[in-house]
Assembly symmetry: C2
Amino acid sequence: MSNLTAVPGTLEADVVVVGAGLSGLSAAREVRRAGREVVVLEADDRVGGRILTEEWAPGVHLELGAQWIGDTHHRMRALATELGITVYDQFEEGDTSYELGGRVLRGAAFHRAHDADVAAVERVLRELDAMAATVDAAAPWTAPQADRWDRITVGQWYDAQGLSPVARELLEICTVGILAVPTVEVSLLGLLFNVVTCGVSADLLSESEGGAQTQRFVGGTGQIPQRLAAELGDRVVLEAPVQEIAVAGETVTVRCRGGRTARARRVIVALPPTLAGRILYDPPLPAVRDQLTQRMPQASAHKSFLIYDEPFWRADGLNGQLISEAGPARMTNDSGMADDGPGIVLAFLEGENARVEGRWPAEQRQDALRAELARHFGPRAAHPEAIVEGSWADKPWIRGCYNANPGPCGWTHFGPALSAPIGPISWAGTETAVAWSGYMEGAVEAGSKAAAEALQGLEVSERQ
Amino acid sequence: MSNLTAVPGTLEADVVVVGAGLSGLSAAREVRRAGREVVVLEADDRVGGRILTEEWAPGVHLELGAQWIGDTHHRMRALATELGITVYDQFEEGDTSYELGGRVLRGAAFHRAHDADVAAVERVLRELDAMAATVDAAAPWTAPQADRWDRITVGQWYDAQGLSPVARELLEICTVGILAVPTVEVSLLGLLFNVVTCGVSADLLSESEGGAQTQRFVGGTGQIPQRLAAELGDRVVLEAPVQEIAVAGETVTVRCRGGRTARARRVIVALPPTLAGRILYDPPLPAVRDQLTQRMPQASAHKSFLIYDEPFWRADGLNGQLISEAGPARMTNDSGMADDGPGIVLAFLEGENARVEGRWPAEQRQDALRAELARHFGPRAAHPEAIVEGSWADKPWIRGCYNANPGPCGWTHFGPALSAPIGPISWAGTETAVAWSGYMEGAVEAGSKAAAEALQGLEVSERQ
């Protein structure tokens, strides 16, 4: 990797990639493999985008960003294998602890007390699956009922399902765990897109976190973008925020903060839509594309890792997961290493909790988290050795996680502009993926698709 | 006015204003009047922002942007008087034509046929007024029921009012006429903010367009920004898109496309929130401010003026207004001059119509508009001398009209970041106004407030 200030002159390539997240790096790799020259411009002083592994102690990796892969994440599995990175199973043995309906109950006790609530949630998930079966993830706006479903919010539709307060809350928590915004901010069609892009709702929404989050990378997810960047070498340029993309004839000129430029014949913008919208395009982009980027805000997610000398809850038959109506964390996870090092609970603050408790002073929030974990995992949980936190909305080159979903009417009125190339500009980023959009798996697919567009564009222009 | 390319060196001032719309120019004027030096940087090659008057023929002015002032727009009236610009009454004599419930009916006939529907709409408006009375336009998130109202969309709440299809449609058309997005894209709290910022719903939503749109400017609205800019002279710099605002110590450095800079101690960003969010801030802005700018999309509005040799509908007892379920225009207006020159019908395509018919090829859309007007105003309406159109989402330095409203949870989770200054940065633009937010009146208020903040900031720093 190089730094913009250290690279002389104008950068030249066949393809410029904007953004060295997983999607941009995947795209760059495929461009290189096809024998074309590439330059990747990254605004930040590191690669990885929404992947960020912190080595808290030797061999102890905290995933401040993307953490898991699922059973059907075939592109990610192949990529990890190629890069020599192995996986380990997410720890899941034992009971989940629930705080719903004013009581803390674990595993079987919760299910006995709330059998009907769980059944009602499962009925709703089956109904979502039936609706999602009519939605094409590549074109959600073509679903027979797209127009109606895009005018209803998920929250509104959930409210109409005749659920008990506990069932409704359970559904909210599981859904916010995916969308990272309150369910009233996303349309029913938007949720159905999230279901179908991942297969079925059980892969996505079920409390067991089955499909999407079954395994982790030994040594941390961060190795993936780092190894991809290492392959690309000096073609990855850091601290190079792109502010302008100008197209003139066969040439695309990409201008960075400070005035330095890169020139190519194609460009791949591998950023979340809202950040892609902050670049100045010359000539200006069509209205539909610009208004789309105004309508896909980055979600609101904050992770807090509570680190203990050992995962003491395991001996107590607990899996380190909780689901809570009280918060601040609505969900937690056992985020320990493969080799059972220290005990690590990852507390998720998502949607409203990221915006309320996530903005509290750290001491106030951490006190509340310690108290919450003690309610579920016992008094030892009140005394972590350390708490490490990360809030994605603060990061200037990210501005929110996990991904972006449009609000009502977004898919039907603007959806086609999400991934359709415009002249020599292709769009990548996990939001543009068809399968597992919003996940690392989707980032790789999107990078691959954008690279194919760019390569084909180069060929066409050379044949002319 | 000057052009950035013609101005040598770094621009220096006490205050830099970003954006030469009405709000920015108003702010600059007040800064100058307080004896401080100001530079206004405008991205476009003209001043006015969302004000744009086209002189179609000598003395015939088409308002492609802001057109009317209301009876209580005291700041705008005072400003116009100071600038020597007079007003004339919007033509309103005669019947409105309705196309609802599958029939075209005019005035009294419609009211006879739909007496109960109109009464039901009026009942809903009274209920909105009662709710709005509990909302503080300066802090909508403090309303006792803010949390609940911000999780319901306007469309959802309207649907729950037990209205007939005709009454529901009438309410949709009137509301979209204000918001310029489908009612499912804005929360009930957002609509209540729109009501209370304008007084009562009758000022805003009533089909008579009473409060907000009673008079127009002789010679065109465009004279107002032009005369304000003329007063400021070379302090207004055109074709100077701001890409970066850097704060270091007591100095703010504002960098334009191409690298030219302006330096000051305070800056006023007088742009719609979404465009303000496209600037790179150094140091980065707080998460809450950044995420707000991701959540206030510019609305979708398109104006089509159909121009005839005379306003023939007037002789037929029609006022040139229609309200239609069929479209493409859901509303029209007689946009003739003060002196009864040519006949001009202004057809509004707002919200979904701006996004559907607004994207049609011009010929297809204009054929549909001619046919629609003929249904209401007779066969002469099918043969305009000319059609002039303007779509605001296309304009690269505007990207949507009339203004911006956040979606569900926007006001309660991000509202305080809309107008609170951040260090030496103040925010203007009509969206930040308390009274008549979204209107020219609000733009002037917002400019005035931001200028006061900047002036006070200068004084405080000088006393230290």
